[in-house]
Symmetry: C2
Subunit: 429 residues, 2 copies
């Protein structure tokens, strides 16, 4: 039995899927008995479709896919949360299965989508939404499902990992690293979603939902990006035995679920410390399995298409065998989210200060008054006028106390010169 597919979106990933099907269609039939046929391809960009050999089956109206009763699987690869949502919800409503790489959509409307899928007895698969080609959603849902997962830590944004890697290797500034990443096609002209941690936040919302059997949405994830990281931070990190990574953090705590995205000091001997360049990795701790890590290329045509087509084959197999979908969402616990304010950890905090007596004492006094105990402090001249980098490393402290101390310190004279902001890097223990 042939499984009929409609594809919406012929950009990098969509093109990669068409290429995989062209190259391996016969392998899929011979090895797995899965016979795929792409019967309709929708794109705003006919040239892109033609470049992948799409001609008669081209359409510029996705309704032609939703309205085609022969289509059993719709692949949504247009991104965003408006048309993409129409495609996904429309496909499910029309009784089709859906495969998508859309992290933003799944992190904002995942609940609604999975509800409709359950109601319609159809599947929604979205392995490509997190970590490009890295198998992580499927292992969490299957191989590891005898575990109570306690932590999911991810380097899940290739753009920022490339930038941080270059800054660490070459001493480049944030601006130089961004230009280089844009030059190489690893960063977009508007890099906001990547450098401010929003892309990573969508991904940890999805991962945390699956790993902890609860429901986390994008708007619930506090996210800080990497704009304030400077070369001096890498020097101090190295001296301390750490590397700086933008980490998407999910922890299952007795009080509830802790999710967040921020630059993080990762000990050099942690498995995530060696994940460099555009590689992504997701580190998972379970009560039985202990520590595991899944590494791979987080972006690009091939890796993302590998994940999409893995899902397509799996769903096609279920369609062929007439297997009722296993509830895409299992029964979720409704765990509370732990506000970041209530978390305790160690901090790396750097201020750009006037290089004169009194500044150190005044900042130290504020930390002391808020009960923040300092583990070490280093001051380095910046070689530009009379300013210096003043770095504090704290013992374990409450996030709320840190934030209160920071807002008081911001008011002090001689601290945070030139309207600079403090650089805060949380330390992974």
């Amino acid at each position: 039995m042939t499984v009929k597919i409609g594809l919406v979106g012929t950009g990098t990933v969509g093109g990669g899927c068409l290429d995989i099907i062209a190259a391996h269609k016969e392998d899929f039939k011979r090895h797995y008995g899965i016979d795929l046929e792409v019967v309709r391809v929708c794109s705003r960009n006919p040239e892109q479709a033609v470049a992948h050999g799409v001609r008669e089956i081209f359409t510029d109206d996705f309704h032609e896919i939703l309205d085609d009763p022969s289509i059993q699987i719709v692949i949504e690869l247009i991104g965003g949360t408006t048309f993409a949502k129409e495609v996904v919800m429309g496909a499910l409503a029309a009784g089709k299965n859906v495969v998508t790489a859309n992290k933003a959509l799944m992190a904002t409307s995942g609940d609604e989508i999975l509800d409709l899928a359950e109601k319609m007895h159809r599947e929604v698969a979205f392995e490509a939404a997190v970590g490009g080609g890295i198998p992580i959603i499927d292992p969490l849902k299957h191989s590891l499902f005898a575990n109570q997962i306690t932590s999911v830590l991810g380097i899940v944004n290739g753009t920022t990992n490339y930038m941080l890697t270059r800054m660490a290797e070459t001493g480049a500034t944030y601006d130089d690293a961004l230009l280089e990443a844009q030059d190489k096609g690893f960063a977009e002209a508007d890099p906001t979603a990547d450098v401010d941690g929003l892309d990573a936040a969508a991904k940890i919302a999805i991962l945390a939902s699956i790993a902890f059997n609860s429901r986390v949405t994008l708007d619930q994830v506090p996210a800080e990006g990497i704009r304030l990281i400077a070369p001096v931070d890498f020097q101090v990190a190295r001296d301390m035995g750490y590397v700086i990574k933008l980490l998407a953090v999910g922890n299952s705590l007795p009080e509830g679920v802790d999710v967040r995205v921020h630059p993080t000091m990762v000990p050099v001997d942690h498995p995530l410390a060696g994940v460099n360049g555009v590689f992504n990795a997701i580190y998972v701790v379970g009560d039985a399995v202990g520590e595991t890590m899944f590494l791979g290329e987080g972006a690009g045509s091939g890796p993302a298409a590998s994940a999409v087509m893995g899902d397509v084959l799996e769903v096609a197999r279920h369609v062929q065998a007439d297997i009722a979908p296993w509830a895409s969402r299992a029964t979720y616990d409704d765990l509370p989210l732990v506000p970041m304010d209530e978390l305790s950890m160690s901090y790396y905090i750097r201020f750009v200060v006037e290089d004169r007596s009194g500044v150190l004492a005044s900042t130290a006094e504020v930390f002391a008054r808020h009960g923040v105990s300092i583990s070490s402090m280093v001051q380095r001249g910046r070689g530009e006028g009379a300013s210096a980098d003043l770095v504090y490393i704290t013992h374990t402290a409450l996030e709320r106390d840190i934030q209160q101390a920071l807002s008081e310190i911001e008011e002090l004279e001689g601290v945070l010169v030139d309207n600079s902001e403090p650089t805060v890097i949380r330390i992974l223990s």
Copy 2:
């Protein structure tokens, strides 16, 4: 519907499974709707069973499990290939599904077992046979199945990885490292299967079969172990920018499948180079996904039980939903094996020689005569009498030529003093 389970073997892994079920039985029901009940436990060791709360359901005769028509899944955890095979084949013949962690059995009789499973329309799952708790068989069979896999490289034996890590870190000899590993419970009294690479060979036979859609058995895997590795090899490796790992190698070549196990020089910037101690990792290259790596704890009660119970839950889900098993074996290609003799790579070769003139010239002459081109050579005195370590690094050479050169060199006077054997470490490019 309750899924009834019979467990055979209550050692480390079996005990871990019983612990997971005790701890998470209600979670499995609530989250996934999977209701497991262990109805019979077989062991040679009643005390072990009692220690995990097994009393009324204990038996010392596995036939009681095979003959119980209510049991739908048999977990085989006794190891070995005699009774274990009886249990597995007997269970399938009785119409039961099987979950096993038995690498030796799957690597020797996998074909026969999967044939019977197919005939009986039952499942055999064996995630725990490779890499302890690391999800690797399931990702290869599912998430990555749109890829043509070109390479699978594994650090799949925790004992030897622990030993090699300690030798690299502390300069310990092989004998010291083995004693330490035995002391810590990471090596058995008879370490042969681990240190001679046989355990790794069974695992790469299983991985290569799945990754390359062909059939590889244990006896087809050439295996060399780590007995001949000495502290000096780590010093030279470090100077060259390599680390030494026991690698299980699988490559899909145009001529066929290349599988082997041997000590390997791994470049320090390769993802596998940082996998230390008892950790295992499997590095997979696919035509779409590019490079991926799966890392985790390769042994121990928790990790292996995590993998076994992941399989049990998956099979139980299929039993509950009355899902016919997807052919555990897809249609395999019957790819030829590439004899190791025909492979080309670079080599690190160390001889213990008499420290006198003429030895270097005579060995170099033999390599030259066999067309083996030398990239670099280093001789180091051993500080014990008049012997020295003579190390050759070759350019790419044919394995056959290397072996012929080695057997001639073994006949030379003054080379391989004290009946020593040459240390051969293949270099990963």
